[in-house]
Point group: C2
Chain length 450, copies 2
Amino acid sequence: MDGDTKTMTFLQELQDEPATLDDILISCRATLKYAIKTAHPRYFNQLSTGLDMVGLAADWLTSTANTNMFTYEVAPVFVLLEYVTLKKMREIIGWSDGRGDGIFSPGGAISNMYAMLLARFKMFPEVKEKGMSSVPRLAAFTSEHSHFSIKKGAAALGIGTESVICIKADESGKLIPADLERRILEAKQKGFVPFFVSATAGTTVYGAFDPLIAISDICKKYNVWMHVDGAWGGSLLMSRRHRWKLDGVERANSVTWNPHKMMSVPLQCSALLVREEGLMQNCNQMHACYLFQQDKHYDLSYDTGDKALQCGRHVDIFKLWLMWRAKGTIGFEAQIDKCLELSEYLYNKIKDREGYEMVFDGKPQHTNVCFWYLPPGIRYMEDKEERKKHLHKVAPVIKARMMEYGTTMVSYQPQGDKVNFFRMVISNPAATFEDIDFLIEEIERLGQDL
Amino acid sequence: MDGDTKTMTFLQELQDEPATLDDILISCRATLKYAIKTAHPRYFNQLSTGLDMVGLAADWLTSTANTNMFTYEVAPVFVLLEYVTLKKMREIIGWSDGRGDGIFSPGGAISNMYAMLLARFKMFPEVKEKGMSSVPRLAAFTSEHSHFSIKKGAAALGIGTESVICIKADESGKLIPADLERRILEAKQKGFVPFFVSATAGTTVYGAFDPLIAISDICKKYNVWMHVDGAWGGSLLMSRRHRWKLDGVERANSVTWNPHKMMSVPLQCSALLVREEGLMQNCNQMHACYLFQQDKHYDLSYDTGDKALQCGRHVDIFKLWLMWRAKGTIGFEAQIDKCLELSEYLYNKIKDREGYEMVFDGKPQHTNVCFWYLPPGIRYMEDKEERKKHLHKVAPVIKARMMEYGTTMVSYQPQGDKVNFFRMVISNPAATFEDIDFLIEEIERLGQDL
């Protein structure tokens, strides 16, 4: 069998008998060959891109250590590194002396679910033993532009998606505080108990930052837990130039912040930060005596596993910690600032360029730049409905061609009544001005005949 | 600063300025130096031990690929490998043609929580939108020896820990089916709706296998979802000699099976297998249009992300798939059989040895061997209460000394009215008969003066 045929059959069924080492290497090479090159500076498809060499080395060391975060006993160094890093992140949020709590969880959706779980427990601690039947009907609030994990969490936690009330966003994707207050009052009138507001710092599509100060005033007024989903935008706290976009975050009860997005830490690395100490432990602990023995010979407060929903928990901390050591806070700041600069460059290049239309006005708030590309054929169509129909099909075709040529990758989607548009995001510090120029030319090259 | 002083301060606060590359290497060396050597053949402390070289290489490749399981578009190879591997696992469970569904999740606790979520949705699909207020009070059933994640799951899902009814286990830790039926009837009489039974295949402490056939008969009779938590014991399905212990597993609605435990796949690698196709998707999907676009240029059934609770999902499949290729099914079988043989060897050596008492009679069912070591000083104590009080303190002291000497590590815990005892488990195929001999001698050396 020659190499190519072998490559094509590497996906064969799993066998009883072992393969040869040669076959294993062929499988590895084929896996890398057909993998998407997420580290490539022209891969703009997701919020997590790039490949930091120190982060990669740290992940390799983590794999080699092959241990578990549940007890200090089996992960003494990693537990301590998690402690110092979470504390540092809380300081950056602005909680005094970095006090509070937190955990690294398997992704932003789970971090957000943790926040909702804590909010419910804080208001109704009996829910842990008695379940939702002991609790009035709850209502959670989040912007119509927020991440779908808020609804997923509500479904899983037995709250129900209908109890997640979507608040209107303005043209640029920011939650409208007046609508939040109106909907809270409305829910109360209907007998619901508002318990959770999830503000978004950096929405997935527009990159919008909800007005946190105004939202926190409303949360305080109605005694509702304020969560900030900063999975995408939280990292801007590292930048002196951009952190004002999260002003008010220090008033939140909990914050999701994913270093695996804008800080280019290898996947996965997501933190939930919580202002109140001890709440996570009370909410989730089950005192399994075969894991959290009370007569160990060390300080049991280092056994942080019982505050997690998980039992075993993957070590996600080392790559973030080591990258932080290697870059310093100023290194992260520089790479974040650079990505935002690239976005602004893209925005400036296309906002008045023929064939482009911006999805909303104004400079990018995060690195998201949302736009339509209009091929010459539909640029001057007079029938607006016809034009819209055609335009809807443009981005999927260009994207498919990008993938076939293997030159670049960028995401698209519809939103509300807006037909398919491109959403550019930049989180890879390896990207350059030339890559942005290339993207524009490539879209035009691949789309001009449509 | 000399090397030692530097090592001791490597845990310093995170700084604004970057550290030198030398400092980074010192941090890496220190992290490995103070790490617990989980791959050492005398590390018996957890259910996940060892370090498979092919698995490690696969994890390194996974880190390098740095992608996300949510869409085929960004993880084409890994999505396909997950598909073929889950199918193979379902075939091994015994579901016809490997039909069904499944997912790799961040650990057994989350896999068990998925199962409970699916069981609830299957019986009351309206819970997704309307929450638990649309549902009668539910009751879940599991053995008193089961894993604490069943209660954690119930707390999180808004079912409440009081709705988890603990069924009596016999002396060897197996759930007693008659007690299960009695408690189901009792719950029904009290107006609860039984919706979920979690049988355990390989309990955490005793390694007991619940009688699945008898349990499945009861589940069928009362129309209750049958879950098998085989996080620890599921891998015995790979062994022709031991798979009878899971007879009846093919009747389950869902099965948790963690290859990161008895198959020595690097952490994390946990699968939930589900008999009914499509249920996970219906239960969890939220149709986020910015991720799961409906006008992509490939078969959308490969976009498996919307059936997960998570949005981004770590690639856990490649290490299992590559190890399977490298060993074949018979390779896994051989290493599992060997670990069970080592356990039986340990059991035979200590069951009649002076100074040892077994916690329960009979040969080990899994690799768990539970025993007390009685130092000479308390071996002949007549006052039973006094003896118990002393004995309770023995295991913690011996364990602390093991860790101080750095020679071996084994877990201990109390259970019910039984004072602290050792729980040996063997999941590292690198362990040998000599390591078992060493353990016995080491316990005696470290404990003889107590």
